[in-house]
């Protein structure tokens, strides 16, 4: 009870909980779930963009894309580390991913179908992710907050790179412009859904707010995203595929149309276009890499034995 009281004090004072501090089990569990889900998203998220590395249309874009996908892997690494400070191993988390117990961001269950998808993922998907993540830089759990500061910094860089790539394409040939518009058409609504169901339908939010894990509601974040993105789309010269999109003078915000939540939930629940493919690809990479990991362990054991012998 004293521990709980101390915890509550820290939380109320917007202080940081650190790995060795006492914390409620539910807090710990929620954090592990959220951080590992975020880490999984980074790892699974390597695949849609990785899909275009071999075909990047210039060496410069190829290098930028590899560096970006590498950054995502890096985010995955330190998010797994942050989650490990809560007492769950990477193997346990990977196992939860591979058996379908853990989720990852549903946006990655859509295919990347043309080169502009890479730019649009930077601009819109990373853009939406940043909106979601910036509040987490102030999250109550120290290692997570610090990881998120680094993640957000790099994601902002990726977002600008993605947008810049699209700007160049929109100054190009008719085919290039068509690619960008096609990619925007396919990704726009999925990005709005990334902020999660309306607050009214979002059960985890209240406790998350209390714990300083979640700080802004889904609908507010979504609105913020729409407001920020509409002018960018205008500069770019693409049409956002929503006939209901219009400026609401009274609200001081952009109104937007109805999100297809049935489609969202179908995908979250495993019936999107690529759920099976993404997960199976991760599982296969892991399984086929087993002999590599075993070799590393076996060799380390042998080395250790040799050193012990020498020491003896």
């Amino acid at each position: 009870a004293a521990l709980q009281a101390h915890f509550d004090t820290v939380i109320d004072a917007d202080g940081k909980i650190e790995p060795r501090d006492w914390m409620p089990d539910a807090y710990r569990k929620t954090l592990v779930r959220q951080i590992s889900q975020h880490a999984h998203s980074e790892i699974v998220g390597m695949l849609p963009e990785g899909n275009w590395i071999s075909r990047a249309p210039s060496l410069k874009r190829k290098a930028i894309l590899i560096a970006k996908v590498q950054d995502e892997g890096g985010h995955g690494l330190y998010l797994y580390s942050a989650a490990e400070t809560l007492g769950t191993s990477r193997d346990q988390m990977l196992d939860a991913l591979h058996t379908g117990k853990a989720k990852y961001s549903s946006i990655f269950n859509y295919p990347t179908l043309n080169w502009a998808d890479v730019g649009v993922i930077g601009w819109l998907v990373d853009g939406a992710a940043i909106m979601n993540q910036i509040p987490l830089c102030r999250c109550s759990y120290g290692p997570y907050a610090r990881a998120m500061i680094r993640v957000c910094k790099e994601e902002s860089f990726h977002q600008r790179q993605g947008y810049e790539a699209l700007l160049v394409m929109m100054q190009g040939t008719a085919e290039q412009k068509a690619m960008v518009q096609d990619a925007v058409n396919r990704y726009w609504w999925k990005c709005l859904a990334m902020f999660g169901p309306p607050d009214a339908d979002s059960p985890n939010s209240v406790q998350g707010m209390r714990w300083g894990i979640k700080r802004i509601g889904n609908d507010d974040l979504r609105q913020k995203f729409v407001d920020a993105t509409v002018p960018q789309a205008e500069v770019l010269g693409v049409t956002l595929p929503d006939p209901d999109l219009k400026w609401n003078e009274a609200r001081g915000h952009w109104d937007y149309g109805q999100i297809d939540w049935d489609e969202f939930w179908a995908t979250v629940n495993g019936h999107g276009p690529m759920n099976q493919e993404r997960l199976a690809t991760r599982v296969k990479a892991h399984e086929q890499g087993a002999w590599v990991r075993e070799a590393a362990l076996a060799h380390a054991r042998k080395q250790q034995q040799r050193q012990q012998k020498e020491a003896a």
């Binding site: 210039s58 086929q288 002999w291 060799h299």
Partner: protein
């Protein structure tokens, strides 16, 4: 002084083709850290390739007879001038000058249109054998009479030293790891060593570069390369079976490749070739 254009292309194509191959692992690696390491390797190699292609493009653009020779490459030009992307994306298989070793897929010996799972042992063994060469090459090329090339060499040397360390460490883990990893590593070494014979049979461009001091006398590196390779193989408890036989010596560096490069280039060049006038 400038190195012969085909020598620059040889070095650039080596880096690009191996970089392209290694990037195939991105998202499919055996462990997240290796995804990152391979991506890093690939980034370094593509970075090297870019510097070399840029150098080659300048040379072409400033020399009428070279400009004529490459006049058929019309894609990705800027103000009519050849760019790094013109050279990377619009040359055909027979115009590439990389060693055949670089273009082999990450699996055992199969024809060009066969499919097979990737084998990380092949990846590691190749990176080891190539990095051992490139560490020596770049080291020597720091003294190239082509100053730009010398500068590229100085930068690249640091990178491939790390590549050699990384691949060598894993090769030792594989060789001196489990039964399976040892078998895979030995198979990979057996598969790839014969392709390394091509290192010691320089093409005309390499010989010309060695002659005029812009390149390296590659044969002078052979003993050192053997020592590097043998040392790590010994530590890895792996065996060299590459008794010289009177058989085929790979000729990729003179433009006669394996069946694999065509498929690699078809994929790599597909988007750029579909939009030859586009700027990205």
């Amino acid at each position: 002084m400038k190195a012969p254009i085909d020598y620059l292309l040889h070095l650039a194509d080596n880096a690009l083709v191996l970089g392209q191959r290694n990037a195939e692992w991105c998202g499919h690696g055996p462990i997240l850290e290796e995804d990152l390491a391979l991506a890093n390797n690939s980034l370094d190699l593509i970075g090297q390739a870019r510097l070399l292609y840029q150098h080659a493009a300048e040379l072409i653009n400033s020399n009428a007879s070279l400009a004529q020779r490459f006049a058929h490459l019309q894609g990705a030009r800027q103000d009519g001038r050849v760019t790094e992307d013109t050279l990377a994306y619009f040359r055909d298989t027979a115009e590439f000058r990389n060693h055949t070793l670089m273009e082999l897929p990450h699996h055992g010996p199969l024809v060009g249109y066969a499919v097979s799972e990737r084998d990380y042992a092949v990846t590691i063994a190749r990176n080891f054998l190539v990095s051992a060469l490139m560490v020596l090459m770049w080291d020597s090329l720091r003294a190239s009479k082509d100053e730009q090339l010398a500068a590229i060499a100085a930068k690249s040397l640091k990178e491939v030293r790390y590549h050699l360390q990384h691949a060598g460490d894993w090769l030792v883990r594989f060789g001196d790891g489990t039964e399976e990893s040892h078998r895979r590593a030995q198979n990979a070494i057996d598969l790839l060593l014969p392709y390394c014979e091509a290192f010691w049979h320089p093409g005309p461009a390499e010989s010309a570069a060695a002659q005029d001091g812009t390149g390296v006398d590659i044969l002078s590196l052979r003993e050192h390369w053997n020592a590097l390779v043998n040392e790590t193989l010994a530590e890895a408890t792996l065996t060299r079976h590459d008794q010289p036989h009177p058989g085929y010596i790979a000729q990729g560096h003179t433009g006669i490749h394996s069946e694999h490069l065509g498929f690699l280039l078809a994929e790599m060049q597909s988007l750029a070739r579909a939009h030859p006038t586009a700027v990205w």
